[in-house]
Amino acid sequence: MEAAAAAVTGLNDDDERRALTPLERVQRTLHKYPALGPLIVLIVLAATFSLIAPDRFLKPFNLSLIISQVTVVGTLAIGQTIIILTAGVDLSVGAIAVFASIVMANVNVSWGVPGVLALILGFAFGTGCGLLNGWLITRFRMPPFIVTLGTLSIFFALDLYVSGSATVRGTDMDPILVLPGQVIEFLGTRFTLGSIGMLVAYGIMMYLLRFTAWGRHIFAVGDEPESARLSGVRTDRLLLSVYGAAGLLYALGAWFLLGRINAASPQALESANLETITAVVIGGTSLFGGRGGVLGTLFGAIIVGTAVNGLTIAGFDPLWQRFAIGVLVIVAVGMDQWIRRVGK
């Protein structure tokens, strides 16, 4: 809040602007801290469910369950976030993650490749799929929406081909492939290794976005690609690296998926595209690129998980879960439109 106040005092005398109204101060603050809005929504949501069902919602076990339930989508949403920050979008996220999980499982079970090697191959395939998206987008100047719509179908078809439309059971795999499903009990909570891995991945990406040139360039390219180029950012190379990094994160999500459902299925993650975009948007990252961040996405994913969990506990029909998420998305995009008008 202090920093926001300093921002306000910094804008004066040169053009003798009027003082900001309280509403504009709120707008400036949300503009500066994009994760603040979703954090408030999350707190309000959690407080509401705590009042409705205090004996069941606000229990360590239930709260850790929410984290476990959002682990896979939450991990995939990191990749989706950095792509949306560049003003792109990735519709192929689910298909790539399933592809990576099938490669990991089938290479291990059908070909007898050691678990660690199968895992590395899965990560290589995930990254490769991401790089392919990035290459098509930068090399042929095609919109990310169209490229990833195309690769969504292509990768899904390959998922079916490689897996033979069959599910591989977790019990047949090398234990390392389902390791993220391992549960750790701690003070009444039950976290999986996968959820801890997701939180670590968020921490690393927050660091990269905030403290490295690569991260700053992601925001610059998403905000004004031409300005970034004229400032010396190699925009195409940056985009390629972002789509590659997203592919790597999808493979990480694929590994967590193997642990979570204890199987590799070509039918998994059917709605992951929309779920990751939902988490990113509720998390306050602008679909127009250049503003937002992964912390907001983490809150966004947990907001969705909390809404689903709380409404279930409160005894609402599941249809209201979808209704609530729809309302949250609309409100989040409306907020973004308002926040982006700052200074105009």
Binding site: A3, A6, A7, T9, G10, L11, N12, D13, D14, D15, R17, R28, H31, K32, F211, T212, A213, W214, R216, H217, F219, A220, D223, E224, E226, S227, A228, R229, L230, S231, G232, V233, G290, R291, V342, G343, K344
Partner: protein
């Protein structure tokens, strides 16, 4: 700096650039001498922007050559021009409005922390860059901004211009190019930018000033390059020609013999 004809710091010889059937540069010539403010004027579509984009590396000419200190240079990207010491303030400012002032100032040439954190963790020297950004802005005396972490889009037009000029002045070691720096500004802010141009020149950096605003050009320029139909129509000085004459040359009402030498440059 002695002698009757100093070496131009930046030259263009026989520069040609066409976009399809539109010829933007038609065998254009250009000379910039050390320590001068060179105004560049011309009607819309005369090719001024294309000419200066060749100097800033944003456009690659089809033929002809660009020389710095008499030696040919070949700019393929904006980074090549920056590396040669040419900084450009674009009309669009080329800033990222959602990013903060310090990030914009150092965009594309961020500085990392020394030691392990910089080399292994790739950690940027955010505090140091913010401090330098503050110094650059206060050096120009143009701004009253205190918070270097505030987004550029929260600034006024003049302040944004100041950020773009500060970036050029901070990193430009040989030449500063300014494309319509006063176009979006009010009277008071324009005055500050013109003073800024003189300050930069007095620090020894030559400035190329592209502008439609004749009074501004005649106010600060030592020489004026008049561009017409993709080539240099004339070079005049504010002391030898009036604004009306310059406009007449610019629109073709007066024709001038092709300039083959740097007539009238302020030596």
């Amino acid at each position: 700096m002695t002698g009757t004809a100093p070496q131009p710091i930046l030259q263009a010889r026989d520069l040609v650039k066409s976009y399809g059937r539109v010829v933007a540069l038609d065998h254009a010539e250009f000379d910039l001498y050390p320590g001068e403010v060179l105004g560049v004027i011309g009607d819309n579509g005369a090719g001024k922007s294309t000419l200066i984009k060749c100097f800033s590396g944003a456009v690659i000419p089809d033929s002809g050559e660009i020389l710095m200190d008499g030696s040919p240079v070949h700019f393929q990207t904006p980074n090549d021009a920056k590396a040669a010491g040419i900084e450009t303030v674009y009309q669009t400012l080329a800033v990222c409005p959602a990013l903060d002032i310090a990030t914009n100032l150092f965009l594309g040439r961020e500085r990392r922390l020394p030691g392990f954190r910089g080399s292994i963790l790739r950690m940027l020297d955010l505090d140091g860059m913010r401090e330098d950004a503050r110094n650059e802005l206060s050096k120009l005396g143009l701004l009253t901004i205190q918070d270097m972490s505030q987004a550029v889009e929260t600034l006024s037009g003049g302040q944004r211009q100041g950020v773009a000029v500060a970036r050029a002045a901070a990193f430009g070691s040989r030449v500063i190019v300014m494309d319509e720096p006063t176009a979006a500004l009010g009277v008071k802010e324009s005055g500050k930018v013109l003073q800024l141009i003189r300050d930069v020149r007095d620090r020894g950096l030559p400035v190329i000033l592209i502008s439609h605003n004749m009074p501004h050009v005649f106010d600060v320029a030592d020489r004026i390059h008049i561009h017409r139909l993709g080539r240099r129509a004339a070079v005049v000085t504010p002391s030898t020609h009036t604004m009306a004459e310059a406009v007449a040359i610019m629109t073709g009402a007066i024709t001038v013999e092709p300039v083959t030498d740097a007539h009238g440059h302020a030596a």
